[in-house]
Amino acid sequence: MQQIIYFFIRNKNFLLFLFLFAISLFFTIQSHTYHSGKFVTSANFLTGGIYSFESSISDYFGLEKQNLKLVEENKRLRTQLSQLTENVTAKVEDSIFLNSRFRFRTAKVINNTYSKSKNYLTLNRGAIDSISIDMGVISPKGIIGIVNATSENYATVLSILNTESQINARLKKSNHFGSLVWNTKDPNVAQLIDIPRLAPVVIGDTVVTGGRSTIFPEGVLIGTIKDYNLEEGSNYYDLDIELFNDMTNLRHVYVIENLDAEEILELENAVDDVEQ
């Protein structure tokens, strides 16, 4: 017994180190699995508070660019709106536009990373603003990521620039769909994989979200095809997608809630249960 105690006293530094190292590894591995309840996130009172403080100062430096972006979006929305009103008067009533399945909330990015292999953003909205896990996040120019943790006042977003991220996307022209992933090389270029070789792929074509998940509405802009690669003997294309979003410069974003998500998931789960 005494020997054991001596052993502990002699090696107390090593044991302490091993213990703390094991805890760190546990946190690390946990962060590599997609949205299991995390302990260490920047969506908490202290970190969120300091990041809001930082963003309240740094906001001023980007005002001009952000305004330009919003003006651009306004312009685009106005053209769409005018087209829409023309259509509505022509086609009488179209209830699709009246009760949309999706609800949009605005939020501001208070922290953004893009230089690591697993990147996250922090937003200044949280559970108190009805933000919850698995809501989609887009900017005026296109898709950004998916909410993966929330606290009362803040939320973190799994960016599309994260090796864990996999989002259903399709070619706008032909409806062939694949998965949007990221190879960590360039924050402006993501990869679209598993596009069948039958699909007509042309450089410069637009890629949009597929609408097969309950997270994003169909047709949210992602980017344009920059390059493609068809490996010999493979039935699938690997595409390089130039993102519309400048992921290094984000401020105002929209969080999308799918009002039918719960119902859809419930139904799908019920079907799965029956099959088992």
Partner: protein, 168 residues
């Protein structure tokens, strides 16, 4: 004296965390190179202080940075590791004289100081990037990031030490 050390190290802890998250994390030199100079805290922690305390504080420091960067526990792991092996690196760089409490990091020769800071920073960065990227496939990316970020960090750490070493 004890109180004085306690105060200085608390201020240093907070100041280095703030410096790291508000300034250094936003540098993104050439797109992805960031210095991680907050480990200065571990490097200049009093040489004769309790080793267990240093390991624990280093873990806490790393975890704080992890919290801000949403990186799980990679900084905490790398920090507790270099805190644990610090005595050996000190012996390697400064010889046995460090054990007699006769040296101050601010007063050592440039070559000794450089080898100490260099070895510590590169070990820290290597563990950091290995855990963050977490795949042998990208070993080249790990080495590249370690080297580039490491050089950047070493320069800033040496600068900080020169800037804040007390002149007697």
């Amino acid at each position: 004296m004890l109180n004085n050390d306690f105060f200085i190290n608390t201020v240093r802890f907070i100041a280095l965390v703030l410096l790291q998250i508000l300034l250094l994390n936003n540098i993104n030199f050439m797109g992805y190179i960031n210095p991680y100079a907050y480990i200065t805290f571990i490097l200049v922690f009093p040489l004769n202080a309790n080793k267990s305390l240093l390991i624990f504080l280093a873990f806490l420091l790393g975890l704080t940075i992890d919290m801000f960067m949403d990186s799980g526990g990679v900084h905490a792991a790398a920090c507790s590791f270099i805190a644990y092996i610090r005595p050996w690196i000190l012996k390697f760089s400064f010889g046995v004289s460090y054990e007699h409490n006769t040296i101050r990091i601010g007063k050592t020769s440039m070559a000794q100081r450089f080898s100490y800071v260099g070895v510590m920073v590169l070990l820290h960065h290597f563990i950091l990037f290995s855990l963050e990227i977490f795949s042998l496939e990208h070993i080249l990316l790990i080495v590249k990031s370690t080297l580039f970020s490491g050089i950047f960090t070493i320069l800033i750490v040496l600068g900080l030490i020169i800037l804040f070493s007390r002149k007697n």
